[in-house]
Symmetry: C2
Subunit: 352 residues, 2 copies
């Protein structure tokens, strides 16, 4: 025997009021006399009633859903954002997640699918700066906030870290340690946030009158990335330090160094991006640029919920500061350093 869950009418009947009054008690949109309100509340408890969100939404146009669209659900940074937002939502909103798999076409189609549910709001990490899907979102008039990747000229709220500063922080640390030959490991310069991190690094070098650091674009394919970095090492002499611009390139740098037996920090210094447990769980814990993920989630929701509540102030662009966690993967460059040939490394390895 299937128990049909009770509807607003059942509650109304039991409380001897009209369904409208039940609705008013529950949503609080209109005042109800305490006496009737109490009757309704007990009926709700007895019947274990909860409003069908679908019917309620169908009528009101306001679905208690926040949609989150990210480029990749296997990237811990993106999932940590999802997690951080989820923790802010409590019981009042559900989360729909979707992944664009880094593809603008999929992004558009997922956007359509997700918007069809008329979510109260949308948080999106676009897979490209121009975010062509934006038109779709705006046509739907769904409140939305762009996270992480931000060109800045879009008319939407954005929440990201101060990428230039992140770049500066790392470069400054490396320069302070005496490094002059730094390799900046980027994923793709087609992303504004990556370019900003590069710019931050370059800026510090220029300010000191030093030549700009080299930049290598490793892409998003893990296998290919290691290969590209290895090729770079072969073509040019290895740098004395690597500044990774994402968690992925941190991993790539580590992989290539492990393959070549280059030891942290004395042969090469490495400064990672993001801050995960595995970066600390090492004989040589990684110095890293930590993004304030929890905080990002919090602000993302703060902005979005403001928009949901009807805030129509001009777009705000929140820039959160990163923090440098200085640990042991960065140190002064080796004495003999300055451009070294791969051969020289063998000699050095013998010392270790």
């Amino acid at each position: 025997m299937v128990e049909k869950s009770s509807s607003i009418n059942d509650v109304a009947k039991m409380a001897r009021v009209s369904p409208a009054t039940v609705s008013n008690v529950l949503t609080g949109r209109k005042p109800v006399s305490p006496k009737l309100a109490k009757r309704v509340e007990t009926a709700v408890k007895v019947l274990d009633y909860r409003a069908d969100p679908l019917a309620s939404m169908l009528r009101s146009g306001d679905a208690k859903i926040v949609a989150i669209l990210v480029p990749d659900l296997d990237n811990p940074f993106f999932t940590s954002i999802v997690s951080a937002v989820e923790q802010c939502l409590g019981n009042s909103y559900e989360v729909i997640v979707a992944s664009s798999h880094g593809d603008e076409f999929i992004e558009r189609s997922k956007l359509k699918a997700v918007l069809a549910w008329r979510p109260a709001g949308l948080i999106v990490i676009p897979c490209s700066d121009d975010f062509p899907g934006r038109a779709l979102v705006e046509a739907s008039r769904t409140p939305y906030v762009i996270a992480d990747r931000v060109t800045g000229n879009l008319g939407a709220d954005t929440v990201s870290v101060d990428n230039e500063e992140a770049g500066r922080l790392a470069a400054q640390h490396l320069i302070d340690l005496g490094h002059r030959h730094i390799l900046v490991a980027a994923t793709s310069l087609r992303l504004a946030n990556i370019r900003q991190r590069c710019r931050g690094a370059s800026e510090v070098f220029r300010a000191k009158g030093l030549p700009k650091p080299a930049i290598v674009e490793l892409g998003f394919d893990v296998e290919l990335a290691s290969q590209k970095l290895a090729e770079w090492f072969d073509r040019y002499s290895p740098p004395t330090a690597i500044q990774a611009l994402t968690n992925a390139t941190t991993l790539t740098a580590l992989t290539t160094m492990a393959e070549r037996g280059l030891r942290l920090p004395h042969e090469i210094s490495l400064i990672g991006f993001d801050d995960y447990a595995w970066m600390r769980a090492r004989a040589t814990p990684l110095t890293a640029i930590a993004q304030p993920v929890r905080e990002m989630g919090r602000i993302l929701w703060e902005r979005l919920s403001a928009r949901i509540k009807g805030d129509d102030a001009p777009a705000k662009h929140v820039l959160l500061p990163c923090e440098i966690k200085i640990r042991e993967s960065t140190a002064s460059p080796p004495e003999s350093s300055r451009p070294r040939s791969p051969r020289a490394n063998a000699a050095q390895a013998l010392r270790g």
Copy 2:
């Protein structure tokens, strides 16, 4: 000017048919003559129409949603499951995710919230074996599949890895290398899958006539876990090898070893659980027990979609094999703690 998105009536009007016919063309529930069908299809294209999923669901009772409830959205294993499932879904279903934060009470409340959306199906990684929320799910008659954590006596489909074998695989490898003093690092023995991994390990030892390995329960709090492991090291003499039973305890083992300056693999061998990029991106890549995550996602969806389609065969319990990735964090135990055998000596000599 706000463009109201077109409804089924607009399509019907443009195609000069009834709304019912439009519905029948789109859902395919009833046959429609090719001529009208074509008219409808072009109208749909012209108006860029998509049925409002909420209205459609309200009427039909079938929401194109798969809900996924996990204990922790910051644990990469759980998010990798979400990701793997998401990739199977294509465009026909949306994903609602929720986290129980490892708390049965929250689990129940999230379950209620999520079920209120009448998802077509539910995938759940319960936070405890008895899964008290189960009653809720069954009362709602939502098709569901339990993943990862499985007592086996629940009347639901389950998909997990062969945990005993996972435990055996690791223990066998360690024994083959000559280890006799192994520490098994578990999160909590209240979880059946963890107990099974333990049992697998113990079994191998018993079969060889060796004393059972020690087991330490580290819990789910990262800070506390390191502390507990450190205490264990202090109380008993450190083992020659650690067999981690989850990705979290792998990290804990690594942290404690780093803190104490214990070097892999010659002072202690470590076999990790799960297989992430960071485990390979090390001077000493980690030997690890890899769970077939993609495959789990695939089977999870295969089972769930079968149930959604009405399959009412008795519950199936799928056990997927783990794979051991032998790398360099495991080696023969150091001279002093190892029974002498020609084979072990040879191995040691090679490593010289």
